[in-house]
């Protein structure tokens, strides 16, 4: 029993959903995603009991590409993030009807298949293939089921596709080059490789281009806000909840260990850029009129902090980054869902058109409030654990990083509370607002429960990822 089963299950799920037809599609998809979740939990359990759930098989003998899936703690953490969020996302989408939903849900499952593959792949080319595969479904999801003016959307989505693909193609060159050196794409072989300083620097930059666009780190973020706004909320959740994490995970898994010296050399610039992203994102978010765009920029700020954590090249930085990735994955999905819930009732995403909802819907208000607090990293939520660890690692590198990065807890509170005030508080809104339905409530409660539980007891996740991070750090440091 190894991790390939998860991939197969998701792939089969995607096909089954496609065949199930529009009526059943959502249910089938939900079923399979839950199955994947259960399976990955089972595998996690057997991993903790010391079983080997990785898989290596041969695929192409020239050029030498192997079907290698490495499932260590880190990878499994990300896989769980994916398989846990997918059902939630599907569940959240039950409220809105999609025309020919079979394609839609098939694409959703296919995307989560591709992303899981990206997290697991331990062979450069295989990894790259999954990386690109994840791009196709989101492109169509955003293009066909997106909202807003079609022409505008087309432009935004096409830009997103070309931009990200462009970035990753340079990564492809890097891989080709590494292959010409190592004669294999296997992760460990690439780790073993010792490159000259110049080579490393170019390789690093090639990777950086791919990841900086995906994550995104400013100034490569220009695709983000518009796509988030135009994509259907499910797409936005997939993008912000999981896909961004692909970039960050890849930084930890591929970029840093393969080109450690370059990473050390550029550390100040990289951390600087990331932190600039934190501040920039927060400030831009202050004045957003569109709820989804505001959340998009908030997530720009958060991933900036995560990236900064990654580039500190310290145990804390990396583990904090992972924690923050997971926490942010959940909270941002929750927030976008809250936006969607409001949209379902009021058909608007413009903050100005909202307000005074609180008195109409106590349940929703409390859940939304908790999510907002989580995203401003209130102690007791998992986000705090992540943010604390990351900031701590930054302060170890240089106290000023921590101070500047720490502004996020002020600015974050500013724009989030402002948003909450304008959206929920104030004189009772004239329009009626039905309180959350059961499925909506389940989704939100699940997310909140997760955040609170691990906020108080993060140990399981920390212990899960710590060994693999140590391993990676040893590779980086010699």
């Amino acid at each position: 029993m190894d991790v390939t089963t998860i991939l197969l299950l998701l792939l089969m799920g995607s096909i089954a959903t496609f065949l199930a037809g529009d009526k059943l599609a959502s249910k089938v998809a939900l079923l399979f995603s839950l199955g994947a979740l259960g399976l990955s939990l089972y595998l996690l359990n057997s991993l903790n009991q010391g079983a080997n759930i990785s898989f290596t098989g041969s695929w192409i003998d020239y050029p030498k590409v192997a079907l290698a899936f490495k499932a260590d703690g880190l990878a499994m953490a990300m896989v769980l993030l994916t398989t846990a969020l997918t059902p939630l996302i599907i569940l959240s989408s039950l409220g809105n009807p999609f025309n020919n939903s079979k394609n839609f849900y098939a694409l959703v499952l296919f995307m989560s298949f591709a992303m899981t593959g990206t997290f697991l792949a331990a062979d450069g080319l295989l990894y790259y293939i999954f990386w690109e595969l994840a791009l196709i479904p989101i492109y169509f999801i955003a293009l066909i089921w997106g909202n807003g003016d079609a022409e505008d959307r087309k432009k935004a989505v096409l830009k997103f596709f070309i931009y990200t693909l462009g970035g990753s193609l340079f990564m492809l060159i890097a891989f080709a080059y590494l292959y010409s050196k190592a004669g294999s794409f296997l992760l460990e072989d690439l780790y073993k490789l010792d490159l000259s300083a110049t080579e490393e620097c170019w390789i690093f930059l090639a990777f950086f281009l791919a990841y900086a666009i995906k994550i995104p780190i400013i100034p490569f973020h220009t695709w983000q806000a518009k796509v988030y706004q135009k994509a259907p909320t499910v797409g936005t959740m997939l993008l912000s909840g999981i896909m961004l994490k692909m970039g960050l995970y890849s930084v930890i898994r591929w970029q840093l260990p393969i080109a450690p010296h370059a990473a050390k050399e550029y550390m100040p610039i990289l951390i600087g850029l990331s932190i600039a992203g934190v501040i920039y994102g927060s400030i831009v978010a202050l004045r957003q009129k569109d709820l989804k765009k505001l959340l998009a920029y908030s997530s720009l700020a958060h991933v900036g902090l995560i990236a900064a954590g990654c580039y500190t090249l310290t145990q804390d930085g990396l583990s904090g980054a992972v924690a923050q990735m997971i926490a942010h994955g959940f909270v941002i999905v929750g927030l976008f869902f809250a936006a969607e819930i409001i949209y379902r009732r009021y058909e608007t995403r413009t903050i100005a058109d909202m307000g005074g909802i609180r008195s109409l819907t106590p349940k929703f208000t409390s859940m939304f409030m908790i999510l907002v607090l989580a995203s401003v990293a209130l102690p007791g939520t998992y986000n705090f654990v992540g943010e604390f660890t990351v900031l701590y690692s930054l302060s170890q590198a240089n106290i000023w990083y921590a101070v500047l990065g720490g502004t996020t807890i002020i600015l974050g509170a500013y724009y989030m509370l402002k948003m909450f005030q304008n959206v929920m508080l104030g004189e009772t809104n004239a329009k009626a607002f039905a309180d959350v339905t059961t499925t909506e409530a389940i989704t939100l409660v699940a997310i909140i429960a997760f955040l609170l539980f691990f906020g108080l007891y993060p140990k399981p996740i920390t212990d899960l990822v710590a060994p693999s991070i140590k391993e990676i750090l040893t590779i980086i440091n010699n």
């Binding site: 400030i283 831009v284 900031l391 807890i409 509170a413 500013y414």
Partner: protein, 628 residues
């Protein structure tokens, strides 16, 4: 057993919170209120038990519940520490907390969201307890941010009024500024000693050898945190606005308990601050200035709660003054007495507002002495206490502070004294305008004038009594408190042998207070002066009345630039960055349009290009061939 009790002590209010969240709406308001109150009383009783036990065996009780956050160089557990300091705080937090809960049952009875109110109040008590009983800084930080959250929720309790929401937001964000300081401070300490646990820290720092600069930095950052929570310069402006919340909230959170968290934290970390005299000086100066400025603003405020708010700020300033001189026990002493009489004052003002159906402007009050005697007398006692009249509680604690100041720094002593004279003045101004001479409100208000129900008055009476006798816990001579706190404080605090110049100082203080009172009396009783309408206020008075325009200054210096930047980024920079990417595409398209001209369908041209190509290649090969 003890562990369970400790847990109960901690969680009991949380249970109340959960109950009120999930069932509050179902049960009647009284029930939800009663539950809320009981849970706090439970904690109070438990604290008494622990207190008694501690008094017997004298050894603090510490347990670690579970591992929480771990970073490479240390593990943080979620632990409870019940020692002298935390128990002292627990006693008055839960004690006053219970009283105010009791009070609120009647005060909030007409509010449809009463169950929410009690939920928040319980949550606050829970977080406050967490803050106090945590055995390391990070647990304190949970409580620290938690109480901030509750104050946000309670200030904005009447969420339909956006001004209140703004006030709430302001409070939260300004606290966050402090919290960042707190975080950084923790980081520095963790980096230095790789622990945040108090006891371990105490020993670690005791060994010394740590880089003085870093220690100073840590202390400074922690103090910044304190200025946020305890409303000191420059972050004090949120506290007066926080009066937007219901009056019990102002009493509990913004007078008695939460705002003293800063003092608690500094006292907790006294072993750190003792090593950094420069920072202590900063603290002292900041405290003194805060005391003076806040008091001076208080002189001219007309909103009864605003006056009390500024007096709170200035009292807190005095406490920090004491902290700055390393007289932690004195500060704590004043914290406790202040908690008594300030809570009483707020509740009293609440009772007045309640009586006048929400009227808060003292210009429309007056002559309430007859109508609500209990409120009047209790408030009068507390006023005497805060003014520092012998033998009320405030006299002893404030006097101690002044003595300490006198010993260390005459200038600050003078400032502090002026501040306390002002205090005496504006407090009596408040009393006179509210309770004396004839009623200035509307006719139909006059009809409904009545003493508040007993649920309101009982807490008042209790607190008033405490305000009278509270000084007893640390009378010069007996000084129980000092002895009690000795285990906590690293540096021994020398006793005041009651000598002549101590008595002289007492006399001066008393005289100052009386001066202030007479001044007020002359102005508001003899002349019967009533403050002018806002429009007519002019000159320096106007500046003071508008709080020296500090808020406007902050808006101008910080808020506006940030918003301007936000606008600039959103409207200019973002599109520009986007264009950069698009421009590549447009460039390619431009090339294409040019290219289409070349592809003009003319066979001759195609053939020509062909031949040119051939010639070019051949010649190139030839040239290189010759070159070889």
């Amino acid at each position: 057993m003890e562990t369970n009790l400790a847990l109960l002590l901690l969680l009991s209010p949380f249970v109340g919170f959960l109950f009120n969240v999930f069932f509050g709406k179902k049960v009647s308001r009284t029930v939800s209120g009663a539950i809320g109150t009981l849970t706090v009383i439970v904690s109070f009783l438990l604290s008494i038990c622990f207190f008694a036990q501690l008094n017997q065996n004298g050894k603090p009780f510490e347990i670690s519940l579970f591992d929480w956050i771990s970073v490479h160089n240390f593990k943080l557990d979620f632990g409870i520490l019940l020692d002298q300091l935390s128990l002292l705080w627990l006693l008055f937090v839960t004690g006053i907390g219970s009283l105010i809960h009791l009070y609120s049952i009647s005060y909030m009875h007409d509010d449809e969201n009463m169950h929410k109110f009690f939920a928040y109040l319980n949550l606050f008590v829970f977080f406050m307890i967490t803050l106090v009983v945590g055995n390391n800084l990070l647990v304190m930080f949970i409580g620290w941010e938690g109480v901030g959250l509750c104050s946000y929720l309670l200030i904005g309790f009447w969420y339909k009024n956006q001004d209140y929401n703004d006030a709430a937001k302001k409070a939260f964000i300004m606290n966050r500024v402090g919290d960042l300081g707190f975080l950084i401070g923790m980081f520095v300490i963790a980096a230095l000693f790789s622990t945040l646990n108090y006891t371990e820290l105490k020993t670690a720092i005791g060994h010394g050898g740590a880089n003085a600069v870093m220690l100073g930095l840590a202390a400074l950052c922690l103090f910044i945190g304190a200025t946020g929570k305890s409303a000191q310069l420059p972050l004090y402006t949120w506290l007066p606005d926080a009066m937007a919340g219901p009056t019990p909230v102002s009493a509990l959170i913004h007078a008695a308990t939460m705002v003293t968290a800063g003092i608690f934290m500094v006292t907790r970390m006294n072993f750190l601050f003792d090593l950094t005299p420069e920072i202590q000086n900063i603290i002292a100066v900041v405290g003194a200035l805060t005391a003076l400025i806040a008091a001076s603003i208080g002189l001219l405020q007309n909103d009864i709660k605003k006056v009390l708010a500024y007096s709170t700020v200035s009292q807190l300033g005095l406490m920090f003054l004491a902290l700055g001189f390393g007289a932690y026990n004195v500060a704590v002493f004043h914290v406790i007495t202040h908690a008594f009489f300030k809570a009483c004052l707020f509740l009293g003002s609440g009772s007045v507002i309640h009586g006048l159906h929400g009227e808060q402007d003292m210009r429309n009050m007056g002559g309430l002495r007859k109508a609500m005697p209990i409120t009047f007398w209790t408030m009068m006692i507390s006023t005497l206490a805060i003014a520092g009249i012998f033998p009320f509680a405030g006299f002893w604690s404030k006097d101690e502070i002044l003595m300490v100041a006198f010993e260390h720094n005459k200038v600050l002593y003078v400032i502090a004294s002026i501040a306390s004279i002002m205090t005496a003045f504006y407090m009596f101004r408040l009393m006179y305008l509210t309770f004396f001479r004839e009623f200035r409100g509307t006719e139909e208000q006059k009809h409904h004038l009545h003493e508040s129900p007993s649920l309101i008055t009982i807490p008042l009476i209790v607190l008033a009594i405490l305000a009278v006798i509270g000084g007893a816990i640390n009378l010069p001579g007996s000084a129980w408190l000092n002895h009690f706190l000795e285990p906590i404080l690293a540096a021994k605090h020398e006793e005041h042998a009651l000598g002549t110049h101590e008595f002289m100082l007492m006399g001066i203080a008393l005289a100052g207070a009386i001066v202030g009172i007479l001044w007020a009396n002359a102005k508001y009783i003899k002349q019967g002066f009533v403050p002018k309408a806002d429009a007519e206020i002019t000159g320096f008075n106007k500046t003071i009345y508008n709080k020296y325009y500090v808020d406007e200054l902050y808006t101008f210096l910080i808020v506006n630039p940030i918003n301007g930047l936000a606008n600039f980024f959103r409207t200019t920079l973002e599109p520009a960055l986007g264009k950069v990417v698009y421009s590549l595409g447009t460039a390619a398209n431009g090339l294409a349009t040019q290219g289409k001209k070349l592809q003009n369908g003319n066979i001759g041209l195609y053939l020509f290009a062909f031949v040119i190509g051939v010639c070019a290649i051949i010649t190139y090969l030839f040239i290189t061939h010759i070159a070889q």
